[in-house]
Structures are given as C-alpha cells and as structure tokens.
C-alpha cells in the first residue's frame, strides 16, 4: 500500500513540471528577457522528466538522462543567473563556474560514476553552486540600487530564486546522505527519501509557475 502511495506521489510530482513547461511555452512570447532565458531550463526539465518517466515505465535505466540533465540544466541556470546579475557580477565568473562544472561532470561520468549509475558527485557540486548563486541573489535583490537602477521584475524572479534554493538545498542533503541512505536504510525508507525529493521538486516547480503567473506585464524582466 505504502509502495503504491509513494509511487503515485513520485509519478504525480511530474505533473507540475509538465504544467509549468506548457504554461511557459504558451506565454513565451509575452515573457520578459530573463523569464525567456529561464523558460529554456523549464523546457529542458519538462522534456527530460517526460523521457525519464517513459524509461521508468519501460523499466529501463534512466540514469544517462540524469547525467545529461545535470550538465545541461546547470548551463541553463548559469545563463539565467548571468543575465539576472548582469552589470553587477562579471559574466566571466558565472561562465567559468559553468565551464569548470561541465569539465567536472564529464570527468565524473567518464571515470568515476559511469553513465548508468547515480551521479551524486555532480549533483552535489551543482547543488553547492546553485545554493551559492541563489543565496547571493537574495542579497542582490535586497539592494536599493539594484531595485532602482535595474529593470528587473524582482517579485517574479524572487519566486524562481526561492524555488531553486529550496530544491537544490534539499537535493544537496539528500545526495550528501545518499550513500548512507542507500546502504543503511530499507527499500521502503529509501523510497520515502525520494518522495521527499519529489515533494521539493513540486515546491520548486510551483514556485516557477507562480513566478510566471505573477510576472510583471509592464517590466521587461
């Protein structure tokens, strides 16, 4: 029973992703520059989640998709943060982070955690970087000069940043304790852990949906 319930939760957790991706696709033309950039991350998530769900239904190993999604997702997020923090943070810093991460995840996939295993190392490093960027972006949005001089739709972008922070902070802990969880806990509890992961994923995509829904219609965010 518990198995079925958690299965339903995990499957239904994909719905907000697809819903957000569809909404982003429909409203893409009316989005501001920053939200347009971020939409590409949502589209990427939508496609990869759909594919991984199909693989899961066909009982095929969907880990290669996760390896690809980790790298591509971070590039999208680096692009997003690069455009948001533009003029205040040197773009080279963020792109250097992205390139170094790309190198790391490639080495990790080729030599450490092969493409059919869970890439916890890459996920942990990605989460650390996103948490750093998200925490800094909270500070950035509080600054009065940023509020006055930039034409950012801060209200909307704050929802995205909050979603990313909540999800990647939780992923960091799950991945960090992942080894202990898989080794020391029963399969049931292991599934519960991924249920928590799904819950945080739902929270993140709900934040993204709110961000798109509440976007300013006048600002070119």
């Amino acid at each position: 029973m518990a198995m079925n319930f958690s299965k339903i939760i995990i499957i239904s957790s994909h719905l907000p992703i697809l819903l957000t991706a569809l909404y982003a696709a429909f409203s893409y033309k009316t989005l501001g520059h920053h939200l347009k950039v971020f939409s590409w991350f949502i589209f990427l998530s939508g496609v990869t989640q759909l594919m991984s769900l199909l693989f899961w239904f066909k009982s095929k190993n969907n880990m290669p998709i996760l390896h690809f999604y980790t790298a591509a997702g971070f590039i999208c997020l680096a692009w997003f943060y690069g455009t948001v923090l533009n003029n205040f943070i040197n773009a080279k810093i963020i792109w250097s982070m992205a390139i170094l991460f790309l190198l790391f995840t490639t080495i990790n996939t080729l030599f450490i955690q092969n493409v059919f295993t869970f890439n916890s190392n890459a996920l942990a490093v990605e989460s650390i970087q996103i948490v750093i960027l998200a925490l800094f972006t909270f500070i950035f949005f509080l600054n009065n000069i940023v509020k006055e001089s930039s034409k950012l739709d801060i209200k909307s972008l704050n929802w995205i940043n909050s979603g990313l922070f909540i999800y990647y902070a939780s992923v960091l802990l799950i991945v960090y304790f992942g080894a202990t969880i898989t080794q020391s806990f029963s399969k049931t509890l292991n599934r519960y852990t991924w249920m928590f992961h799904s819950f945080f994923s739902v929270v993140m995509y709900t934040c993204f949906f709110i961000s798109l829904w509440k976007r300013s219609k006048t600002l070119t965010s």
């Binding site: 923090l85 003029n87 205040f88 943070i89 040197n90 810093i93 942990a124 650390i128 970087q129 948490v131 750093i132 960027l133 925490l135 800094f136 500070i139 950035f140 600054n143 000069i145 001089s149 960091l172 960090y176 304790f177 202990t180 020391s184 806990f185 029963s186 509890l189």
Partner: protein, 265 residues
C-alpha cells in the same frame, strides 16, 4: 526501528561542515565582488548626473545668450533706427522753423535732445546685453573698450595685460569669459573699495588663464559662493569645464581669482 549502522559522525559531519563553509565563502566572495561593482556603478551614476547637470547649465546659458543677442539686435536695429529717423525729422523741423515762433523751436530742440538721450540709452543697453565688438574684435579688444570709460573718472584704475598671439576663442567661450570678468569688475567697484585692478590673460596650450587681482578690502569671511554673482561665475566656469580658484591674497591683501579654461580650438 531502523538505525544507522556503524555511522561515523565525524566522517559524516566534517564534509558537511566543509560544504557549508564552501557555500558561505562563495556567497561572501560574490557579495564582495558585487559591492565593488556597486561602488563603481555609483561613481558612474554620479559622473553621468554631473555631466547631465553641466549640459543642462550649458544649454540654459546658451539659450540665455542667444536671447540676449536677439534682444540687443532688435533694440539696436529696430528701435534705434526708428529713433534715428525721428531725430533726423526733428532736426529738419528745427531748421525749417527758424525765424518762426521761438517757443516751437525750443520745444523741438527739447524733443530732439530727449530722442538723443533715448538713443544713447538704447545703445548702452544693447551693448550691455551683447557687446558688439566681441564677435568682430575678440575678448581683449572688447575688454579694453569697456575698461577705458571705467578708468576715465580716475576713481579706479584697471590694468589689462595679455601676451600677443592669443588664439581666436570660440564665441561662447569669449562671451563667458567676458561675463565672468565683467562680474568680477562689477563686484570690485561695488564692494571692494579698491583703487587698482589687474587683469592678466595668458594662453598656455590648451588653457586660457585669466588672473584677476585687486587691492581692495577682499572678501568677508564665508562670503564666497553666497551671492548670485559668484554662483553665476562658478556655473560658467563649470560649463566651460574649467577651474576656478579665488579668495583673499594673503600677503598683498585684496581679492584674487584665477580662472583656467581649456580651449578646444
């Protein structure tokens, strides 16, 4: 109840502490970089604001001078011409009325004298509004022509020195310098109780330097930047992107001002 078997807390917690430390360092470094960029942006904003204000002042002075020029021309050319014709007619009437009623002649002479006074006033007003020599003969000649009548009564003596080979200045630069010097002379005559003024104008590429000194009582304490005249001088120097240094002379006494204006010829 499931328990963590053989959990080594030090092994588990130390890497977590390192991760949190890395996150904290990352945020702090990004924030420091941001604060540095922020101060640069603040500076840029200040420069932009100051440039904008200067531009605003420059255009306002330019508009004001153009308007003065137009009014001066209108007064001189239109009113002056009409009054000259009136005067000529009066002269003719005077000549024709010789031998007739003496009181008519006296009346005509009176009206003619009045029209001559009005003509002289119009000339003086139009010259004050826009010195006609400035465009044709340049700053030095214009100043000489203004100084000469001031020196005549003998109450004050203004000495103007300049080296030969002064370049032809742009009209607005000449006009602004003329207005600045006239404001300084005006202040000396009105408030300084000075008997001598020395104006020295030199050109050291790419600057034109005007040194103004008098032997008066100098400025009272905290008087600089208080009056409209001072503000007008500062505004004009700022518009010309020049520098202004002024105050009381320490040893000789009296007032001094050094104005340095870059000349983009």
């Amino acid at each position: 109840m499931e328990t963590i078997k053989n959990a080594d807390f030090i092994n588990a917690l130390l890497p977590l502490a390192i991760i949190i430390f890395i996150i904290a360092i990352g945020v702090v470094l990004l924030n420091q970089h941001f604060q540095k960029n922020l101060s640069l942006q603040k500076l840029e904003q200040k420069v932009l604001k100051s440039n904008y204000q200067n531009e605003l002042l420059r255009s306002s002075i330019h508009v004001q001078e153009e308007e003065r020029k137009r009014i001066a021309h209108d007064i001189h050319d239109e009113l002056g011409a009409v009054l000259s014709i009136i005067r000529m007619h009066l002269l003719m009437l005077e000549q024709q009325s010789t031998g007739n009623a003496a009181h008519l002649l006296a009346g005509l002479q009176n009206v003619r004298q009045l029209s001559e006074t009005v003509l002289a006033s119009i000339r003086s007003i139009s010259h004050q509004l826009m010195p006609p020599q400035l465009e044709t003969f340049g700053l030095i000649k214009t100043l000489e022509s203004v100084i000469e009548p001031i020196n005549q009564p003998g109450n004050i003596y203004i000495r103007l020195t300049s080296l030969p080979g002064m370049p032809d200045l742009p009209w607005l630069t000449s006009l602004d310098l003329y207005r600045i010097i006239m404001e300084l002379i005006n202040n000396t005559i009105k408030h300084a109780r000075a008997s001598e003024v020395h104006i020295d104008i030199t050109y050291t590429e790419p600057y034109i330097v005007c040194t103004y000194t008098d032997n008066g009582i100098g400025l009272p304490e905290n008087a600089i930047n208080k009056g409209l005249g001072h503000k007008s001088i500062e505004g004009r120097v700022s518009v010309l992107e020049g520098t202004l240094e002024w105050g009381n002379q320490k040893e000789a006494g009296g007032f001094y001002a050094i104005i340095q204006i870059p000349v983009g010829l």
